[in-house]
Symmetry: C2
Subunit: 349 residues, 2 copies
């Protein structure tokens, strides 16, 4: 179809062409069931509207109805660092973030389609303050947080003018809904996998609680709980190659790394020392980053359901717009089995 030079058709022209009033056209096309219109009339209006290529003007509609149906999105990780970051200077792969944000966008986009959200409004990086939300562009806001940075934006959003749901955190201020991956549970799944393979001395590789990063802390806590539940002894977190090798010499046969990138580092340390994965040491990561299948010959890892999280966020926000109270939802991560884990070797001698 060719719309070149097409003058926009307005509701009045549809009304005239269909021989009804503009109100009737509006009633039919807005589809509100509480307006009863003769089926034949409605059908005629719809046909005429379609033939004329009529599309309601959203600006006018939004002005009249005082809502847009649109949901706002902030990708917090995209954009300049915030000064309150606990990890300024830490080299985190941009690609990790981008994969994650891409998955988030995919999930949002898919959920928006299914739930008939007409459009998502993405605010430019670092652009948003609470005041901006007053401008009536969106009915609600989703914030995809970056756990490696502070939650500056979220804290500026206490008592925001529209409902807010935060993704990938469990530390939003009161009144803000949350959807996060259950990091502790994910760690538990990883540990459980290793225990099933017969490992009893399992190390945690990464900054964990000490890093100050919410997710890493939860992962270490999950590691501890899972080991204790299994009647095994947690080890203190290890964050460098030499200590990892020490631990292995001390009898550790499996390593749970708090991230896939950490697992890559652990593998490098082990490999350089002539230790084989998984023959000598089993290795599990967390994230399932792109390329995880090439780490350590195929890294067994815990997949974070980012797209599902985004979809859950959309549903949660829609529920809030429907009057429900803010809630916290935790999604179950999934173990991806590859080739970096194996049954513990029977100790000979």
């Amino acid at each position: 179809m060719d719309y070149a030079g097409t003058v926009k058709v307005r509701i009045k022209e549809v009304a005239i062409a269909a021989g009804v009033s503009t109100a009737t056209v509006s009633k039919v096309l807005s589809g509100r069931a509480d307006y009863q219109v003769h089926a034949e009339t409605a059908e005629r209006v719809r046909r005429v509207a379609y033939e004329l290529g009529y599309v309601p003007d959203v600006a006018a509609r939004n002005l009249r109805t005082r809502q847009t149906g649109q949901l706002g999105v902030v990708l917090e990780a995209v954009g300049p660092s915030e000064p309150d970051s606990l990890l300024t200077g830490v080299a985190v792969s941009d690609a990790v973030r981008r994969t994650f944000d891409g998955a988030i966008m995919a999930g949002l986009s898919e959920a928006a389609r299914e739930l008939e959200v007409p459009a998502l409004v993405v605010y430019p990086s670092g652009q948003l303050d609470a005041r901006t939300l007053l401008d009536g562009r969106v009915d609600g806001l989703l914030v995809s947080c970056d756990p490696l940075r502070g939650h500056g934006l979220l804290h500026g959003l206490r008592s925001p003018p529209v409902p807010v749901v935060a993704l990938w955190t469990q530390r939003a201020p009161e009144g803000i809904g949350m959807v996060d991956v259950n990091h502790a549970q994910g760690a538990g799944i990883a540990v459980h996998h290793l225990v099933e393979l017969g490992h009893t001395r399992i190390a945690f590789y990464g900054g964990g609680v000490r890093s100050g990063v919410e997710h890493f802390a939860r992962r270490e806590q999950g590691y501890r709980s899972a080991l204790e539940e299994a009647g095994l002894l947690p080890q203190s977190a290890i964050h460098d190659g030499p200590r990892l090798l020490q631990a292995v010499q001390g009898g550790v046969t499996a390593v749970f790394a708090e991230t896939d990138l950490g697992a890559a580092a652990a593998f490098h340390a082990l490999d350089s020392a002539g230790l084989s994965v998984p023959a000598d040491v089993s290795l599990v990561g967390f994230d399932d980053i792109q390329g995880a299948e090439y780490i350590a010959g195929g890294l067994t890892t815990v997949y974070q359901p980012a797209a599902e999280m985004a979809a859950a966020g959309v549903r949660a926000l829609l529920a809030r717009l429907d009057g429900e109270a803010p809630q916290t939802a935790l999604l179950r991560p999934r173990l991806i089995r590859r080739r970096s884990t194996a049954p513990v070797r029977v100790v000979s001698g």
Copy 2:
């Protein structure tokens, strides 16, 4: 600041509080230079507006001005496959797309901030037809294409009601602006790197022209041109392990793979046959996917400037809104040197 229960402030209240008319407030805040307002008055209005927390209502403004300042975004890869895909059934890692889309969003977001685009409107996957663009939600549209799928959407957008710029393709219909990575140039850069290392027998690994995929075709063409320019002989494209090994036995010392994932496959074939990278064979990929540093011990590859492409897209679209004609821009890819390439081994005997 706490906006709980805050009633939205309207222009009239600002006017009253500042002791002027709404027209004056509008003139001051819209910042249009052709309206002369007493400096003191203007300053007072601005201060009062700020103190009252006044934010103009975008719906009303959009209705009045007939534009929004917003740019639409379609991530074509997100969403269900189209039937016209040439590669239905081909397993392409979702993660690759997501990284790419994430980078695109990051670039868009950053450019939007710099160029003061108030917001980006992301249309849900597979939701958009040309008609939807008539609804006045956006002043222009960016389409991030998926080269592995058809351009169904783009072709439905001939003569669209708003300017359109397509990303990651050079095959959009007439009238649509384009920004793409210069794939041929990227291939040339890769080949040039290998030639500099002394390689003279360089293979192309992947579907290339025969795949029917625009990007892969350009990359193979770029490979050919670069070799010819260097006075060397291009080989026909290889797309499986056994033939790759044959080629190596036949004297090939370097392989340019059309994608990083392809490079991983090539590496696997070589490695399984006991050939070492880069000692026996040098290997270059294309894309610089997340995890490329773990492929083949650190894959030398061609990085696609996705974020820059997105930013260029925003600029191109803004230029079109400014009255300029649609153009095509090609961005120069960059070589990422890692450890999978080395000087050619001097043949002994």
